[in-house]
């Protein structure tokens, strides 16, 4: 019964989405407020019914109703409750249901918080949301229905893929989807603006908070996925340039560019046409990501789905939305008036440079991800494009981006003073050079790359602190006044600082981990001691343990540093009977930002066990960076100038800014 309710609710949501994608648009044409307001009620009703449908699937999983095919294939009655719930989106059908649920959530939020949007803009934007929703409801109902029943219900389910039985699954996909789908809002607003042929600074002020929310979640989602891969896959890698990872990185890069160009549009009423294009591209890349992951077109850990009908269906959605929106753009973009001239050396100019480098970097990732597919279609030859390609293309583009980053916030709008900005960055530059020199002396003769890259990161970090110090007149005014000024700074300025700080922190982590990572692979018997990076790891014993739906072999290590015990680590190897699969559960021990990492291999006949031990210096900074970025986003979001849907003049806030 529950499955049928869920299915029926989904069909109703489709009907509502059809109404939402047509009626408000007709209303906007006829200037009929009643018809336009239909968008609001349908968006909310859609949220209700999709929510009901999603809840139904969760209930089916929790009650282990194996008469439903999807539950049978991905669940097991002995599975812990949390994995029963997260298993809902640990498979193709369920994750698509999560996708549309989040889409409906964003539609509902626009309906609720968009009270003071112009009526036509809201109607058109929600109608575009309706189109996207319609396409994906049809996709689910026609090709990936999670509510299908089995004629002969089995007694027990086949269990969830053990790699996915991890708290990471509870966080990573919802975060990622909140990001992907969140960009649909800026897309819908962009299309609505193109339909109306009118766009102004207020548009950017409405779109920016939504973009910021999506970007924050995408940042966290990517970071979480990376940490999950790091500890779950057992090879200690955190980024593999896997097509599925690239699929999430591309919208992130485009979204980051969009975030920055929307600032220019809001403040200076410039770059309108470009911002609209970026909004379209960002969501198109999100759709592309969904296609790459969900169609099984790529070889990858994430591609559970290998059904071609689904692939073709998503490809059609992709073509219609990307092709349609870009055609509309080509047709209507000229009707958007340009405004706000600026000199190349100015805050606008710096943000244009940022956009240029970010989108180019995004394009290189795009080529690296899709080139193998294209080549295979054309010549039949199979190649793989891996880390070396991206290190040679993506990384060089990030160097000028990071070099220019601290200058941006220090330049004035309209016409900036590069020399003045450079003078204010003296301290940052000198700190960076000192860092390079010290590191160089310390590693002595090692590659010059790491000290230089860390110097760059230090420059970014000190540079972003400089902006706040300058604005609050730290070191130039008495401390008390400076602190008061700092408190009075708009939160967006603090947000910028934290986000940029995060970029520097992540870079330090990436460079340290990839340069000074030590690895030790050996076979140990109980009582043996392995030495790595000044730590001694003694294998105490090997034991068996029984989990709820798995058995595991646990190794216990005592870790000591110069004779003093600092902790124990218990890596294990789990075998899951239902799928005859085993997973490696790595053990982690953090020391500051660095980590020790142990994962187990096979047991030999002699009773010795193969182990892989890593020491990863500063590795935690890799994920602390994105956390700081997202925190910066949150601070900016709480800035009252950016409060969702509150298009108030920014005069009051601007008075608090330091005169530049």
């Amino acid at each position: 019964m529950i499955a049928e309710i869920g299915h029926y609710a989904l069909v109703l949501a489709l009907a509502l989405a059809l109404v939402q994608s047509t009626v408000p648009m007709v209303g906007a044409r006829l200037h009929d407020p009643v018809l336009m307001n239909v968008a609001r009620s349908t968006a909310l009703a859609q949220l209700l019914f999709v929510g009901l449908s999603f809840l139904a699937l969760v209930l089916l999983y929790v009650t282990s109703d194996f008469s439903v095919a999807n539950v049978y294939e991905n669940s097991h009655s002995l599975k812990p409750l949390i994995y029963k719930i997260t298993g809902v989106w640990g498979n193709h059908e369920g994750s698509m249901l999560l996708w549309v649920s989040i889409l409906a959530l964003f539609g509902g939020l626009v309906a609720i918080f968009g009270r003071n949007l112009p009526l036509t803009l809201r109607a058109n934007a929600l109608a575009v949301q309706g189109w996207v929703a319609t396409a994906f409801y049809l996709f689910i109902l026609l090709t990936s229905n999670p509510f299908l029943r089995l004629a002969n219900p089995p007694m027990e389910g086949r269990d969830l893929n053990p790699v996915l039985q991890d708290p990471g699954l509870a966080i990573h996909p919802p975060m990622l989807y909140l990001g992907y789908v969140g960009f649909s809002i800026s897309f819908s607003f962009a299309i609505a603006a193109l339909i109306e042929g009118r766009i102004d600074a207020a548009w950017a002020r409405w779109v920016r908070p939504w973009t910021l929310v999506a970007w924050m979640f995408l940042t966290l989602g990517i970071a979480m996925g990376s940490y999950w891969a790091y500890y779950e896959l057992g090879w200690g890698g955190w980024w593999f340039w896997d097509p599925v990872e690239n699929a999430s990185l591309m919208p992130w890069l485009a979204g980051t560019a969009l975030l920055h160009s929307a600032v220019v549009m809001e403040k200076r009423n410039a770059l309108k046409v470009w911002t609209v294009l970026l909004a379209i591209l960002t969501f198109s890349l999100s759709l592309l990501g969904t296609f790459l992951v969900r169609s099984g077109v790529l070889t990858s850990v994430h591609a559970f789905a290998t059904d071609p009908t689904r692939g073709v269906f998503i490809l059609m959605i992709l073509c219609i939305f990307i092709g349609g929106s870009l055609s509309l753009y080509a047709w209507r973009a000229s009707s958007l008036k340009q405004g706000g001239l600026f000199a190349p050396i100015s805050r606008e100019g710096a943000l244009v440079l940022n956009n240029l480098l970010l989108t180019t970097a995004c394009a290189t990732v795009f080529i690296g991800t899709l080139y193998p597919l294209g080549l295979e279609v054309l010549t039949g030859e199979r190649i793989s494009v891996g880390a070396p390609f991206f290190n040679l293309t993506f990384a060089p583009l990030f160097v000028p981006l990071l070099l220019a980053l601290p200058f941006g916030p220090l330049l004035a709008w309209k016409r900036g003073d590069l020399l003045g900005a450079a003078q204010r960055l003296y301290a940052a530059g000198i700190t960076a050079l000192v860092a390079v020199a010290v590191l160089w002396a310390w590693v002595r003769g090692g590659s010059a790359f790491a000290p230089l890259a860390i110097g760059l990161a230090v420059f970014v970090i000190v540079g972003s602190l400089t902006d706040i110090a300058e604005r609050s007149m730290l070191f130039r005014m008495p401390l008390g006044i400076a602190l008061r000024r700092a408190r009075g700074l708009p939160r967006a300025a603090w947000g910028t600082m934290f986000a940029h700080l995060g970029v520097g922190a992540a870079l330090i982590g990436i460079v340290c981990e990839s340069t000074w990572n030590t690895e030790l692979i050996s076979t140990l018997k109980p009582g043996d001691v392995a030495k790595i990076a000044g730590y001694e790891l003694k294998l105490d014993d090997l034991g068996q343990r029984q989990g709820p739906n798995f058995g595991e072999m646990v190794a216990r290590f005592t870790v000591s540093e110069s004779g003093k015990v600092i902790g124990t680590m218990t890596p294990s190897k789990r075998s899951f009977a239902a799928r005859a699969m085993s997973t490696t559960e790595a053990a982690l021990l953090s020391r500051g930002f660095s980590q020790l990492y142990i994962s187990l291999g096979d047991t030999a006949a002699s009773g010795a066990i193969a182990v892989r031990i890593y020491h990863k210096p500063m590795v935690l900074l890799i994920w602390l960076g994105p956390l700081l970025m997202a925190f910066g986003g949150l601070l900016s979001l709480s800035d009252r100038r950016l409060r969702v849907g509150a298009p108030k003049p920014a005069r009051a806030a601007r008075a608090l800014q330091a005169a530049e």
Binding site: L148, R158, L298, F304, E381, V385, L392, A610
Partner: protein, 155 residues
């Protein structure tokens, strides 16, 4: 400003072309290796099925096994821990280069597939060579007595 944009784009195109020339890795099956005469030391990815009974574990985590595509086999040497999903009789992709003796020295063994399917390259290559049998497809799947998913599914 447009000039600056063009410069950045030109640099990016240069980087991409350079990287595409130097850093891509081709995929081969043992039969393709036999036909193409790949020189020793050239990196490529080798895919196929791990020949049952060929896995030999040596000292210090050294392992050797054979990769087969139905018509040819190629010996592979690897040092390290094999991934969880590595099994005899199942699909595998290894990355490395041939040595002078014609042994494929792998530095990476990938099993980036879950149990229900084989690496896509391997499946496609086997299909193309006409060695694709349903056995291979089933090899990774559940015992046949279990109800197959979606069978008898009702709408």
């Amino acid at each position: 400003m447009i000039g600056g944009a063009l410069v950045v784009l030109a640099i990016a195109v240069g980087l991409v072309l350079n990287a595409l020339r130097d850093s891509i890795v081709f995929f081969s099956t043992p039969q393709m290796v036999a036909e193409k005469q790949i020189p020793a030391g050239k990196r490529f990815r080798l895919g196929g099925l791990v020949e049952p009974g060929s896995l030999v574990r040596g000292d210090h985590l050294a392992v050797t096994f054979k990769i087969s595509d139905g018509s040819n086999t190629l010996p592979v040497a690897y040092k390290g821990i094999l991934p969880d999903l590595f099994r005899e009789g199942q699909g595998v992709v290894a990355e490395g280069a041939l040595d002078n003796a014609g042994v494929f020295k792998a530095d990476t063994v990938l099993a980036k597939h879950d149990e229900t399917y084989m690496p896509k390259e391997v499946a496609d290559a086997l299909k193309k060579q006409g060695h694709w049998k349903d056995d291979y497809e089933k090899a990774g799947k559940k015992p046949a007595d279990e109800p197959r998913p979606m069978q008898g599914a009702s709408r």
